[in-house]
Amino acid sequence: MLLGWLKMKKMHYYSVLLISGVTPCAVYANNKIPEKIPDMAFLEYLADMVEVNGELVGPLDIKSKKIKTAQLNDKERLKKAQNETIKTANDKVKDQKPKEKNND
């Protein structure tokens, strides 16, 4: 009888543990984190996107990564190249002028 009583107590103990473990999970499952309700800015951003290949593409999707191609910056290289061409063009003009004078 004592053994039976002990078994019953164990069962009761385990059932209490089980219920106390399950109910928080059930409560958590029911109290899901509410889904984001889109605001005006978000909806406008979404509306501005374009469908390409069945996918919505936005301004960030066409943004190109900055890749370091050389020691110099791209702009600096372009400027340098432009200055060089201007120099060579000016030099050519200078060379031509004395020749024209000599021809006269």
């Binding site: 309700i37 951003y45 501005d48 191609t69 201007i86």
Partner: protein, 151 residues
């Protein structure tokens, strides 16, 4: 004069303001997403209403994964400087103006490029920049020639 005034006023009263969309004309799912605008909906301009409706439709058609991806993207967008945002918007508006086929091609090329290893990306960028520089040099040379001709 008064008759003319009355006529013009009556015209403005009876001409429909754009093609405004009534709140009750929205589907229940759309109303759920746009709930926060229910009181001010009729006061919004029609183009705004259309935009919000389109945004709501797209949101409704998305699954939870796409929604979370989009939320992350939007967060990134909001973190950008206003200058960067305007620059990207300008680029994006240009992209929108090109035909759909070209958009697809560009998008595919962009995706392929992003998947390449960094050194390959660097090589391609170098090539592209060299070509651009040559073009720029030609342009400046032509300009200088024209200037010299005038003198």
């Amino acid at each position: 004069m008064i008759k003319l005034l009355l006529l013009t006023v009556s015209l403005f009263v009876f001409i429909p303001y754009g093609q405004a969309l009534e709140w009750n004309a929205l589907a229940p799912e759309q109303q759920k997403v746009l709930k926060q605008f229910s009181t001010s909906w009729n006061k919004l301009p029609s183009d705004k209403q259309e935009k919000l409706q389109l945004g709501a439709n797209r949101w409704i058609s998305m699954d939870s994964q796409k929604r979370s991806d989009l939320i992350n993207k939007f967060d990134q967008w909001q973190k950008l400087d206003p200058q960067q945002q305007t620059k990207l918007k300008q680029q994006f508006n240009k992209f929108k103006q090109i035909p759909a086929e070209q958009q697809q091609q560009l998008r595919n090329a962009h995706q392929r490029f992003q998947k390449l290893p960094q050194d390959k990306q660097r090589q391609l960028m170098d090539k592209f920049n060299k070509r651009n520089m040559k073009k720029m040099n030609k342009k400046t040379q032509d300009k200088m020639r024209q200037k010299n001709k005038r003198h």
